[in-house]
Amino acid sequence: MDKTLRIIVRTPQLLVFFFMFSCTQVTELQIPDPEPELIVNGLFTPDSTWKINVSTNTSIYNSDYEPTYLDHAKVSLWEDDSLLGTLIPSGRGNYRLNRYPKAGTTYRLLVEADGFSPVSAEDRIPIHVPEIDNIIWDLDREVVLGDQTGGVYTTNPLTLDVIHHPDEPEYYRVQQILLDSCDCLDHPIWPLVDFLDDPPIFLGLDTRFPLCEPSARDHNILMFRDDGIEGLSTTIECYSSDTLNAFYSYSLPRSDNDTLWLYDYNGIGPDQTPRKTYVRMYLDTWNMSESLYRYQLSYLTQGYNSGDPFAVHINVFSNTSNRRGIFAGYQRKWFLFYQHG
């Protein structure tokens, strides 16, 4: 019986280890190259002339960083069903037409190239530029926030009024960009910053505004559609991430000649006033077509999910006939504002 017991006790132990450690095999999978497809990309806005980029798709295993541009395609453009012209290749897959798109007008694109199925797409620029009013960034008011991962941070609320136009659906995007800031009284000896070497900082944005797309908030961009606004203006309270406070202290004005900068190194301005803390901030706002809205959301999400084995795959949205690339219009407006401490 003792012998039997020993067998009973030890054999499973050995077999459990066999089970757990010796039975995984890895196989590299090979996937055949995809059918060749044209990739057409073009965003258009009333502020710039036409530019369309044409390239081709490639295998998932291709590790080249350079796109496979196509310079021998025929790119035709229609405006409200009348041919606007054929775009002229300008190298690196770019095709140009020296005309400005118009807001509210529908454009149709047809790209043809030997060896590829033709690709068409259609879109329009929204009628209105984004209208945002009453931007208030209240540095005196602090809000303590807790995120759902357990993190707690302090932030300053930024409120802005979005004015919606009821005559067409609108799709918004708001991004907060810090150009520079100064807290010179605390750090008078820090050198000036060269703007070219220290580009603007994209600030994290969060909000409790219910219409904002959660997936875009993960990218610190607020994106929302006009559902629920419908002809009204609405106030959005945003929260910059706590990294703002760090940038706020570390950045310095780019030069003494900056028109915003009225103070010398000793903290004394022309009128002998002491130097003050300030922040110079851009609000980058978009009003875009639905196609571009979906394109941006999916593009950001795909990048964010890269390497996450638990993420559900998302294709980048496309409004072209072969479901790759984008042809979409938008209106964009920058709001520059300052905050003095």
Partner: protein, 813 residues
């Protein structure tokens, strides 16, 4: 106008007359009712689905799930023959001149394999459209992974039922998903039936007395799930003597005891199972931690306890109490070494489990009616917790704890009546009430920073729902014709929202030749709860959620038809076809990471529809020295969501067009030894693999994001490059086919005080490297030549469970 009214009155009279005739048929000849219960001799366990035949009338009955039967016959001499697989057949002859209640005791066959079959019985009586009853004794013969027999996994060998990931117990029935299976353990639904992340189910064969599976043509008494009903009945305990079994497999130890509390009156059944993994692993992990200079341990284990007691109040009434409790627990703990007084201590725990309990009272009412009343509660709860602490001598402790949990609680009350309304006419009617509470996801955070303590929990309010169902099912059967008409009406109430549904069920059968019959059926079902899952693995993190005002209930319609042929009384062959349409299925939205997401679950899902169509072939030999089956399924299952895959229909993840399963068991010349084998071939599962990429030009990225080169700056925002990866469709890639052969050899020997059984087997005998999962990612390659660093995409398939021997040991006393 008067004529019209008279016509209406006449029409109403006809309808009422027809209804009365159907429900309360009156025989023109004198009839008596023979009713009774069929039990196992000795143990007193009720025997369900036993065939009872009245020889002189070419009619018969089948005992219900509680062993009760009732039949109308003319008064006089009665010649009954009774048969059930696994029992010696029985004939009864007696005179009956008035209504009589009898108790029949059948003797269990000494070996399942030597069951004698009565030629007079038709094997067709045991096969039904959309319904399968596989004898438990036959299921015990199946080779099992790691020697751990598993009732639910054995169903994966049946046509129309597929597995998800290899080795796991998830069931995908006729294109449905695991959450669409209603798994009833003693009348109570079980919400998560998995141990060890799905590798084993909660139910070893030794605790289950009966199992009945419906894949289609659902009777009206079942509802709430779209794809299948799996009814499991726990053993009820031996009424006359104490018996026991203990067994040891590679992963667990089990003990089962049953016996009389009051001989002949009351009995109890108890089963316990505990995993051995943690006992084996813990010493090794502790040793490894010590080598690294810390005290620590890592463990994982699970347990089950099932107990059931019953009390015979009178020959016609009985009371049952059944309890199941089971849990999985994984723990990791790392503590500072004894010399280090300042190091941090961390620990983590993952735990999930079910509790179900039910009380059932059943009685025979009058001479023809059987009543069953059930009150029960079932709960599933999952929680995980992580904690970190740091303590220095002379300072208060800093500690942070966080985690999350989810749960579903369900109170259920059922009342059902089942009986005869006339010769060949049966009626079943009942009511079910259910009250559920869901806590889909509750996160908590507790911080002890020196002397300051903060406790926070982030939760949505619990979701409560109530379901009320009434149903009735009428059955008419003659030796050549059978008809079932059922109706189930349900109301579901949650968050101030109500859904009502009327669910018709129907089945018709025609035995057009002595050994042939055809059947066709239709069923409509609604399901009011959903399972949020991305894996299909039955992970504990999958969340049960109710239908809400944003997420409506799911529903399905299924049309099924089949032809059945009896080759001999032991062997039947069938071909069934089905067409199923599902509305209201949910899937995570594209782009959602179901681990790294903190949004409300209702914002993360899309609602869509599914379709499946298939043909199932099944050759089944139920007993004999050679027994087993061959099953083949040809099927197609798709999903369609307006917001997924550009609205284009795509293959269901477990759309596997071909599925072959073979099971063969052979009793060797020495009847105490047997061998068995299973062979499975299944088309590969579908996964989404981006197979091409295209580049988004830098200046376009500039436009989108501002500054492409410097984009990796803003908090959690990472854009790794301008290329976009593309998959032609959701689930565009079919993995390699899966196939394997498992074998088992059993040898039994009678010792002085007990019988012992050794079981040896091999899982995946010929070592097929079946695809387990595919990992798609990017790998950074460093080189001494240019380019020094480059990123390469990789697509790797991992195989698991290759050639795995096992051993098991069992003692019965």
């Amino acid at each position: 106008m008067i004529e019209h009214t008279n016509m209406k009155i006449r029409l109403h009279k006809w309808i009422w007359g027809l209804l009365l005739l159907l429900l309360f048929p009156v025989s023109l000849y004198p009839q008596i009712t023979i009713s009774g219960s069929i039990q196992e001799a000795g143990s007193g366990e009720p025997i369900s689905f036993a065939q009872l035949k009245v020889n002189q009338l070419q009619t018969g009955a089948i005992s219900n799930e509680s062993g009760f039967f009732s039949i109308d016959i003319p008064p006089g001499e009665v010649h009954f023959a009774i048969q059930r697989i696994g029992y010696y057949p029985l004939t009864l002859e007696f005179s009956a001149w008035k209504d009589t209640f009898i108790q029949v005791r059948m003797i269990q066959a000494s070996s399942f394999l030597d069951t004698v079959m009565i030629e007079a019985f038709s094997g067709l009586q045991d096969v039904h459209l959309g319904r399968m009853v596989i004898p438990m004794e036959q299921l015990k013969q199946l080779p099992a992974l790691a020697g751990e027999g598993d009732v639910l996994k054995s169903l994966q060998f049946l046509p129309g039922v597929q597995f998800g990931q290899e080795g796991t117990s998830g069931l995908f029935v006729r294109g449905g998903s695991p959450d669409q299976n209603l798994i009833l353990l003693d009348d109570m639904p079980v919400y998560n039936v998995n141990h060890l992340f799905g590798f084993f189910s909660l139910f070893p064969p030794g605790v289950i007395q009966d199992m009945e599976v419906y894949k289609g043509a659902f009777p009206a008494q079942y509802g709430g799930r779209l794809s299948s009903v799996i009814r499991l009945q726990v053993k009820e305990g031996n009424l006359s003597e104490w018996k026991g079994e203990t067994s040891l497999s590679m992963l667990s130890g089990q003990v089962r005891v049953e016996g009389p509390l009051i001989p002949g009156k009351s009995s109890i059944f108890f089963a316990g199972r505990r995993s051995l993994i943690d006992l084996v692993l813990r010493p090794f992990t502790s040793y490894n931690y010590r080598r690294e200079g810390v005290n620590g341990s890592l463990g994982y284990g699970f347990y089950d306890i099932i107990t059931k007691a019953n009390y015979i109040i009178s020959p016609k009434s009985r009371l049952f109490v059944s309890v199941y409790a089971g849990s999985d627990q994984g723990k990791i703990s790392i503590r500072p070494s004894d010399e280090d007084s300042t190091a941090s201590e961390s620990s983590g725990a993952l735990q999930w489990g079910n509790i179900t309990t039910s009380m059932r009272f059943q009685q025979v009412m009058g001479k023809k009616w059987f009543s069953k009343s059930v009150l029960g509660f079932t709960r599933y709860r999952y929680n995980q917790e992580l904690s970190f602490s740091r303590k220095e001598v002379g300072f208060p402790e800093d500690k942070i704890q966080f985690g999350n949990y989810s749960s579903v609680n369900d109170w259920i009350l059922k009342q059902e009546f089942h009986g005869q309304t006339g010769r060949n006419h049966n009626l079943r009617a009942g009511i079910q009430l259910s009250s559920k509470q869901f806590e889909p996801d509750v996160s908590f955070l507790s911080i002890q920073d020196g002397m300051v303590a903060t406790d926070t929990s982030f939760r949505e309010p619990p979701l409560r729902s109530q379901t009320a169902s009434v149903y009735t099912g009428y059955e008419y059967s003659t030796p050549s014709l059978s008809l079932y008409l059922g109706l189930r009406a349900e109301g579901f109430f949650t968050e101030g929202k109500q859904w009502w549904s009327v669910q018709p069920r129907a089945k018709i059968g025609w035995k057009f030749a002595p050994a042939w019959k055809v059947e066709a059926g239709y069923s409509y079902i609604q399901q009011y709860i959903h399972l949020l899952t991305n894996s299909g693995l039955g992970l504990p993190t999958d969340l049960w959620v109710p239908a809400t005002s944003l997420i409506p209930p799911a529903s399905s319609q299924q049309i099924t038809a089949g032809i059945f042929h009896e080759i001999d009384p032991r062997t039947t062959i069938s071909i069934e076809g089905y067409w199923k349409q599902i509305e209201g299925v949910i899937e995570y939205k594209e782009g959602v990471s179901y681990i790294n997401n903190f949004s409300n679950w209702q914002q993360l899902v899309n609602i869509g529809r599914g379709k499946s169509i298939g043909l199932e072939f099944f050759l089944h030999r139920r007993s004999g020295k050679w027994n087993g089956w061959i099953g083949y399924t040809l099927s197609k299952a798709t999903r369609q969501f307006d917001e997924i895959n550009d609205g284009i229909e795509f293959p269901f993840r477990y759309d596997r067009p071909h599925n072959v399963s073979m099971f063969l068991s052979r009793e060797l010349p020495n009847p105490n030894k047997s061998i068995s084998a299973t062979w499975t071939f299944v088309s590969g599962a579908r996964i989404t693999v981006p197979d091409e990429q295209y580049f988004v030009p830098f200046d376009l990225v500039d436009q989108l994001t501002g500054f492409a080169d410097n984009l990796i700056t803003s908090g959690s925002s990472y854009i790794f490059g301008p290329s976009a990866v593309y998959a032609e469709s959701r689930n565009n890639y079919s993995q390699r086919p899966f196939h394997k052969l498992d074998i088992a050899y059993r040898t039994k020997k009678a010792k002085r005080k007990f019988d012992r059984t050794w079981e040896f087997g091999v899982y995946n005998l010929y070592g097929r490297q079946n695809p387990y999962y595919v990992f798609y990612g990017t790998e950074t390659i460093f080189s001494t030549t240019e380019p020094f660093v480059r990123n390469e995409r990789t697509l790797r398939e991992y195989s698991f469970l290759i050639w795995l021997p096992y051993i098991g040991y069992q003692i019965s006393f």
